[in-house]
């Protein structure tokens, strides 16, 4: 699905999103001009190294951190820079699921209360109706409703992540922002949650912003992928294209570093070893942020920051794509 092929307006259109955190001597530019579209029913993967701004991007979209600049239109309506009442209305449509299923659930609430709470808060159901809808949500994510009165610590990691997902689904959102929903899970449990996400999406036509550092997981689940480096998106496009023929040198290095669980593939694969570590996010932006580690950087890269440009169906921010 190319960008040009979309006739419908995107469900969520993010433009020039900036989130800067105050810090001395210079602010931390956690998100520094991020733009992307998310269509109804689409899954967009957001990948990149630790600290590049993935979580902050998602948190800004649900008002958990204030956006410094930029806009995000949900069906044409602004969702950034809102007051508390308007934020609540947005939250019915955009929900976030967090990485750590151990830390993100209130340990003193029963599973039933955790899952049903959003319905109660938004005044959408009480009493018997609330109970019924809670049971329904639990069934949808494959949790046994008999566990309604148990507490989070009585569940395994995968089950806890299901609880988090059931809660996020309570208000019938159209967009789920999934922040590393399987990273804390064991490999054998990870597959259970990934399959559940794929099923829910098909049933409810949900759009996902799927944040992950595991590129294999992203390739598995996402139709499109956006690669972030130091607060910017450096490459976006259909997963198949980006994974089989990456254009940005950072995407290339990132993909080449992912180990493949097949000794035959591993024995013959070429690795691009990057030198050094990612620079600190409080840097002043002069030139391309990746230039210092880039194996093909030229003089221009150090003085002029490349803007994203269209290249064969995807956007790439590089002077030599």
């Amino acid at each position: 699905m190319g960008r040009g092929g979309l006739t419908e307006a995107p469900l969520l259109a993010v433009r020039g999103l900036r989130v800067w955190f105050p810090s001395r001597p210079r602010p931390i530019r956690a998100v520094d001009g991020v733009s992307f579209d998310l269509a109804r029913g689409e899954t967009l993967g957001l990948v990149g190294e630790s600290g590049c701004g993935k979580s902050t991007t998602a948190r800004a979209l649900v008002g958990l951190v204030p956006a410094t600049d930029g806009s995000a239109l949900l069906d044409g309506k602004e969702v950034l820079h809102l007051d508390e009442a308007s934020l609540r209305r947005v939250r019915r449509r955009v929900q976030m699921v967090f990485q750590d299923p151990y830390a993100s659930l209130n340990p003193r609430m029963t599973v039933g209360n955790i899952v049903g709470e959003p319905l109660l808060i938004h005044g959408l159901a009480t009493g018997k109706e609330l109970l019924l809808r809670t049971v329904e949500l639990m069934l949808q994510v494959g949790l046994d409703p008999r566990f309604l009165n148990r507490y989070p610590h009585e569940f395994s990691g995968g089950q806890r992540q299901r609880i988090g997902i059931a809660r996020a689904l309570a208000l019938g959102p159209e967009v789920l922002l999934l922040d590393e929903p399987v990273s804390a899970l064991d490999v054998s449990i990870q597959a259970q949650v990934l399959n559940l996400l794929a099923e829910l999406k098909a049933e409810r036509n949900l759009a996902y912003l799927f944040i992950a550092h595991d590129l294999s997981v992203v390739r598995h689940l996402c139709e499109r992928v956006a690669v972030m480096y130091l607060g910017r998106i450096v490459e976006t496009g259909p997963s198949e294209q980006v994974f089989s023929d990456p254009r940005h040198p950072y995407t290339k290095a990132l993909l080449s570093a992912v180990p493949v669980p097949d000794p035959a593939v591993e024995a013959t694969r070429e690795r691009i070893l990057l030198l050094g570590d990612p620079p600190s996010p409080d840097r002043e932006s002069v030139g391309c942020a990746f230039a210092g580690r880039c194996p093909i950087a030229i003089e221009r890269c150090r003085v002029e920051d490349p803007a994203p440009e269209e290249h064969e169906g995807r956007m790439v921010a590089c002077w030599q794509p």
Partner: protein
């Protein structure tokens, strides 16, 4: 095989923990050996005993742990009948271990240089300029740029990947025969992970060291380990040459693992999943601990726990069921 060829020989290792909820049987009869210059990968579910097995080798377990073994030989010497002091000295010289989070193993109040130098003083009695030179060289060997300046820095001034390099430099100072790396790259980004694995592979080539690499990432094992052990509920359930393990897995848990991971070189398809969760080690069911989650379970699996049995070519697996031919992951 020459006796001197085997760096580590472990037979029937058991580790129990005394806890308020009863006895946790964390390691239940682990046996394996490593040859000089070999890399062994250890994979398995979280809580399956990968770390505890190796912490036991280094006497790094708390007092609540009860350790027993039939064989525990390091570089040809049995460690079972040694005094605690003898054991410490053998261990200090022959085995070194690095961990997932190097920050917990480094002293935040001492410079990186001081901490590496201490190892050279301890192991080789170096002093003065020779000590400084050795320290700088050690940092250079693990790929830290401008080492002569970086020795003055404190650990917090280093990135995660650089701290792991510092840990590796410290461990190499003793010229160990065996390096145990417990999830050394789990906390690191993939591009930094690739740098560290590349470093370890290079060091192994140059020094003929043996490495035990504990990881949950089958991809890392595929590219790095000669042999691989798969652990489940405190036991080794399969061991083989790495390529044989991937091409012809003989334990249903190994098969489940291989089919449940998405692969970067493949598009999307539904993942096979292992249902359920691993067992409680303080209340293990009778029979095979994987039986409740197993696709191939038979009645006899619930009666007796299967032992590791040979499958030819040094491949062993702990499963009594005749499995269908493996058609590859998915």
């Amino acid at each position: 095989m020459l006796a001197g060829d085997t760096v580590l020989d472990l037979g029937d290792l058991h580790v129990d923990f005394d806890t308020d909820d009863g006895v946790v049987r964390a390691v239940r009869g682990v046996s394996y050996s490593i040859k000089r210059g070999q890399t062994i990968g250890v994979v398995g579910e979280s809580g399956s005993g990968k770390s505890v097995t190796h912490l036991a080798l280094l006497d790094l377990l708390p007092e609540t742990a009860t350790i027993s073994a039939d064989v525990m030989r390091l570089a040809g010497r049995s460690m079972l009948n040694m005094s605690a002091k003898e054991r410490r000295s053998v261990r200090g010289n022959e085995i070194a271990m690095i961990f997932q989070d190097p920050m917990t193993a480094l002293n935040p109040f001492l410079t990186v240089g001081t901490q590496i130098a201490e190892m050279f003083r301890l192991h080789h009695g170096l002093r003065g300029q020779r000590l400084v030179d050795a320290t700088i060289q050690a940092l250079a060997d693990v790929g830290i740029p401008r080492p002569e300046r970086r020795i003055e820095d404190y650990p917090h001034e280093f990135s995660g990947g650089m701290r792991q390099r510092v840990m590796i430099a410290m461990m190499l100072a003793g010229n160990p025969e065996l390096l145990i790396a417990d999830e050394p790259t789990t906390a690191l980004d993939v591009t930094v992970q690739a740098q560290i694995l590349d470093l370890l592979a290079g060091l192994q080539r140059d020094r003929g060291m043996s490495i035990v690499l504990i990881t949950h990432d089958l991809g890392v094992v595929a590219g790095f380990a000669h042999r691989t052990l798969v652990m489940y509920a405190g036991r080794v359930v399969e061991e083989a040459e790495t390529s044989a393990l991937f091409w012809n897995p003989q334990h249903p848990y190994t098969r489940g693992l291989l089919s449940s991971i998405p692969r970067l070189d493949r598009g999307s398809q539904k993942l096979r999943q292992i249902v359920g969760a691993p067992p409680d080690l303080s209340a293990l069911p009778q029979g095979c601990p994987f039986a409740p989650r197993c696709d191939f379970v038979e009645d006899r699996c619930r009666e007796q726990e299967p032992l590791l049995a040979p499958r030819g070519d040094g491949h062993t697996a702990a499963c009594v069921v005749t499995l269908p031919k493996w058609e590859g992951a998915v």
